[in-house]
Symmetry: C2
């Protein structure tokens, strides 16, 4: 069914081509900014900091202070004002009703994470990392594009495995930030709720299935990353309690950044096809558009800048 | 039904009395240790660091380095070895097969969080905070104990609201660590899975209910803490999509620590009654006991120390 071209007509915003064209599409600033670096992020800018380790500090008193995503978050504004007063150069990167408040506009859209993380890679002198990540993403795009039939397409296959089931999301400790990333992708693009188990999952799993063995949805567990000792125990607990356990692995020999971006990108492809299996348009819902309306640049000002 | 004493017979480990007697029960070290402080925590010791802000740093090169929970976690052992080599005094607090490896034994059990956080409060010179938290917990215990009938008992009432429904867990930003705490309590004690929405919940909620409007369980959302702007938007999205939204508020004028410990403790009471509504024993399952078996002090050594 996912190989039938009529299915792709559900995708009215052509998110498919945005996904396919994502690797290598970064067209933002590439200048290396002054060290040391501090960064805070809100809404679409928050995940970028959890999936990368280019920047360790939250706030710096010199060098470059990044504010990502919603640059008018009250907490974020306070923090960067402190950094600026202390002597740091502030970079406001994300969305704002006024373009004058931004050093670089990253429009809200389901794949903006890629722009934020590639921006950070370049700005912190890691352009080689950015290129390696693009190369890994490009290989995956070739395998996940619509014309690749389900039998050879890992994203279509995983989407079918999730269909009509509730996904539990688990990860080896070093992959933990991807749990929240997949929850957001499955919700925003895949139009589906999932159950993240991010903190000490064994404590929750030790009892969580006792009360309602048979009720509710069927369940499938995704385990992100090579299993560590904790995930091996999680597998043992889950084996008798849920329908299926599916490992989700990145290729070997990727850097931490390329690996995280690869698994995020795979989650986006899976979510795309999951929406299609449910006869849903994978584009942002009206709710998402309403939430983002506050961030849209005002038209008159927009004109004046063009 | 929860007011019927036969129901309490399900509770074979008498977790009820452990809960009721918890406020003021801390009987561990009270000595203030040398600053600065660093702390890492694993398994039962991890949540204590998310719910408190007595210690800001992860690793210190002088002063006192805490290792909480599973003191043989490989990552934790590496980190404290670095701290120790640099000159910090290490405090190993938690569980180990050998008591000789511990400065303070905190046996694994569903309420051990209280012991870890009160220990940290005393060790970092915040005994006043520990006493204030105890006072807040004591008032709550008086309202949640089994003899208080459902009409006056907030924990029994909330347990009924969660019964046969899937709880979504949300929180204002400053309460976010309580989301994972409640997930663990509802799983380990309440024998129920819940759906945490910890990171940028609006992104997930914007699409997450589209694909499967009517399928699966009924849903109820708990919003922990006084609602901030983000939670007010979350309420608006949820109102048309789930059965009920229930705010869970701490008393006013509590310190951050007392407030967090209060909401954790309330979650434990609710989970206790939730297990009873499902005819479950709220004590640790066999799975939890198996997971903890590795941490049990060996009997022979235990004897030799008595």
């Amino acid at each position: 069914m996912l190989d039938d071209h009529s299915r792709k007509e559900l995708d009215t915003s052509n998110l498919h081509d945005a996904l396919e064209g994502l690797p290598g599409s970064y067209a933002g600033p590439r200048k290396i900014l002054t060290q040391p670096y501090g960064a805070v992020g809100y809404e679409e800018g928050a995940l970028a900091l959890r999936l990368t380790s280019f920047i360790e500090k939250t706030v710096v008193a010199q060098g470059t202070q990044f504010l990502l995503g919603n640059v008018h978050d009250p907490e974020g504004e306070d923090l960067v004002n402190i950094a600026e007063a202390s002597g740091a150069q502030v970079q406001r990167v994300g969305v704002s009703p006024s373009l004058r408040d931004l050093d670089y506009l990253v429009p809200t859209q389901p794949l903006s994470l890629y722009t934020y993380t590639q921006y950070l890679a370049h700005a912190t002198g890691n352009s080689e990392e950015a290129e390696k990540a693009d190369a890994a993403l490009r290989l995956l795009a070739d395998r996940c594009t619509f014309q690749i039939p389900t039998e050879q397409n890992p994203a279509k296959q995983l989407a079918w495995s999730l269909w009509t089931r509730t996904p539990l999301l688990l990860a080896s400790r070093s992959y933990a930030p991807l749990i929240g990333a997949w929850q957001q992708l499955l919700g925003r693009i895949g139009k589906s709720m999932s159950v993240p188990l991010e903190h000490e999952p064994l404590l929750t799993l030790s009892g969580g299935f006792e009360a309602r063995h048979e009720s509710g949805d069927e369940r499938v567990a995704l385990i992100l990353g090579e299993p560590d000792a904790e995930m091996q125990l999680a597998r043992e607990i889950l084996e008798t309690r849920i329908d299926e356990i599916i490992p989700v692995l990145p290729p070997e020999n990727l850097s931490d950044y390329a690996r995280n971006l690869y698994l995020w990108y795979f989650g986006a492809w899976v979510s795309y096809y999951l929406a299609l299996t449910y006869n849903q348009d994978p584009k942002d819902t009206k709710v998402a558009e309403l939430l983002n309306a506050d961030f849209k640049p005002r038209v008159d000002e927009d004109d004046s800048l063009n």
